[in-house]
């Protein structure tokens, strides 16, 4: 494994945990899959379609998201939005993330 690949792995690992938070946060406003992908990418969050779509289904099955099919347009689309349980989890995740950031800040300052 080259140093570059190793570095990429670290980045992927670091991102993985934050993706759930990013998805939950964005879905306070209802989105369909591809629109959410674009919203996330606009915000600079690097996520691939083949990661996002299964993640949406998983979060829905865990009760963090709710979905409904919009059939009013020519092609049906599945819209996702955050559930009450999802909101709770999101808040807890944000708190934890802030704590983590503060701790890392302390570590970083000592350098």
């Amino acid at each position: 494994m080259t140093q570059q690949e190793q570095f990429q792995n670290y980045i992927i690992e670091m991102r993985r945990g934050s993706l759930t938070m990013a998805v939950l946060g964005c879905l306070y406003k209802s989105h369909y899959g591809y629109a959410l992908l674009q919203t996330l990418q606009e915000k600079g969050i690097d996520i691939e379609a083949n990661t996002l779509y299964p993640l949406l289904r998983r979060l829905e099955s865990q009760g963090l998201l709710i979905s409904n099919w919009d059939t009013s347009e020519s092609r049906p689309r599945k819209y996702y939005s955050i559930s009450e349980k999802g909101k709770q989890v999101f808040h807890e995740l944000v708190l934890e993330w802030k704590k983590m950031q503060a701790s890392l800040e302390l570590v970083y300052k000592e350098i």
Binding site: G33, E48, N50, R57
Partner: protein
């Protein structure tokens, strides 16, 4: 172009559980079309499909439950259980098979047909041993699969204790050698089978005692012989249990010591039960011995009523001493094993 998308979606959903296929198919289709522009070219479709990646990989991401039978989280435990359960079941059922084979070869006159006996020994013993081992393998595997699917969390992932950590020194001299345990198990089983066959009068040969020109084939009374059959079975069982625990622990642990202690207590009790039988030797045999020149009053008294005889008491004392000695050895080894463990 549509066909390409349909083929891609099919390749994904065919790897998913049936109840999810419909929903994933619709959603994936909607997502793919969203990613394409109006009247997209085939090139564009291909680009989007490549962006989604290999269907197998995508399906893997969609799947909630694991596809493997035994997941890596519990694999270690699964192998650990098999390693000690399979040999135990194999040997125990080999023994049972041999007994059944021997019983089946008893002819009407109560004797064993030797040819049939040897044939049964192999066919019954080995076939029962192998089939029991295979069945155990299948059922243990099914048990693990069900446990994992119904939410059992392995110790290594859920709650675990410091004591569950594996030993550092795997081949330390404090380990009980596998060969010792197997030899002990096999010898105990074979000896017990022979003893039971002897006491039930089903051995393929007659025990004939011949002194000078006098002979008798009945040394022990029928009552004594019958009492010995369950006694031997109990002795076999209580000698097998410590072996199984040793096989599982592979170290001189507290549970090995406790089962050994229980085994000795049961052995001594069983011996007492056997020796308490009112008559052990047949009058035929006593008469035979009494007629010999070397027979003295002490020996005859012992033969007539062994129960309160000093010889019996001496034997009993020896058995108890040996038992205490072996338990003491086990205790010593256990303490040494603990000491050794604490060093790490």
């Amino acid at each position: 172009m549509d066909k390409l998308i349909k083929r891609y979606i099919y390749d994904v959903i065919r790897r998913l559980p049936e109840k999810e296929q419909e929903e994933v198919s619709q959603e994936l289709e909607a997502n793919i079309y969203d990613m394409l522009s109006e009247n997209a070219s085939e090139e564009e479709v291909k680009e989007v499909l490549y962006e989604l990646g290999s269907p197998a990989e995508l399906a893997e991401k969609y799947r909630h439950s694991p596809k493997y039978l035994i997941s890596p989280a519990i694999y270690e435990e699964y192998i650990k259980v098999l390693k000690w359960v399979l040999p135990v079941v194999g040997i125990v059922f080999l023994g049972i098979g041999v007994i059944i084979g021997a019983v089946e070869s008893i002819s009407d006159d109560g004797m064993i047909a030797i040819n049939l006996f040897i044939k049964n020994l192999f066919t019954k013993g080995i076939s029962m041993g192998i089939s029991a081992t295979l069945q155990t393998l299948v059922w243990t595997t099914i048990g693990f699969v069900i446990a994992e699917r119904t939410g059992y969390r392995s110790k290594s992932t859920g709650d675990w204790k410091i004591e569950d950590l594996p030993e550092l020194e795997k081949n330390a001299k404090h380990r009980i050698p596998l060969s010792d345990i197997i030899v002990e198990l096999v010898l105990t089983t074979v000896f017990s089978i022979l003893a039971i066959l002897f006491f039930s009068g089903a051995l393929p040969f007659d025990t004939l005692i011949k002194i000078g020109d006098m002979e008798t084939s009945n040394i022990f009374t029928q009552g004594f012989m019958y009492a010995c059959i369950p006694a031997t079975a109990i002795l076999w069982l209580f000698n097998t249990i410590p072996c199984i625990v040793k096989l599982k622990e592979r170290r001189w642990t507290l549970s090995v010591f406790i089962t050994l202690l229980i085994s000795y207590i049961v052995s001594i009790t069983t011996f007492l039960f056997v020796i308490m039988q009112p008559k052990i030797f047949t009058s035929d045999f006593i008469v035979l011995v009494a007629k010999q020149e070397w027979a003295n009053t002490g020996l005859l008294n012992f033969l007539k009523s062994p129960i309160q005889n000093p010889v019996t008491i001496l034997v009993l004392i020896i058995i108890i001493l040996v038992g205490i000695g072996e338990c003491g050895m086990a205790a010593y080894r256990m303490l040494r094993n603990r000491e050794h463990k604490n060093k790490f």
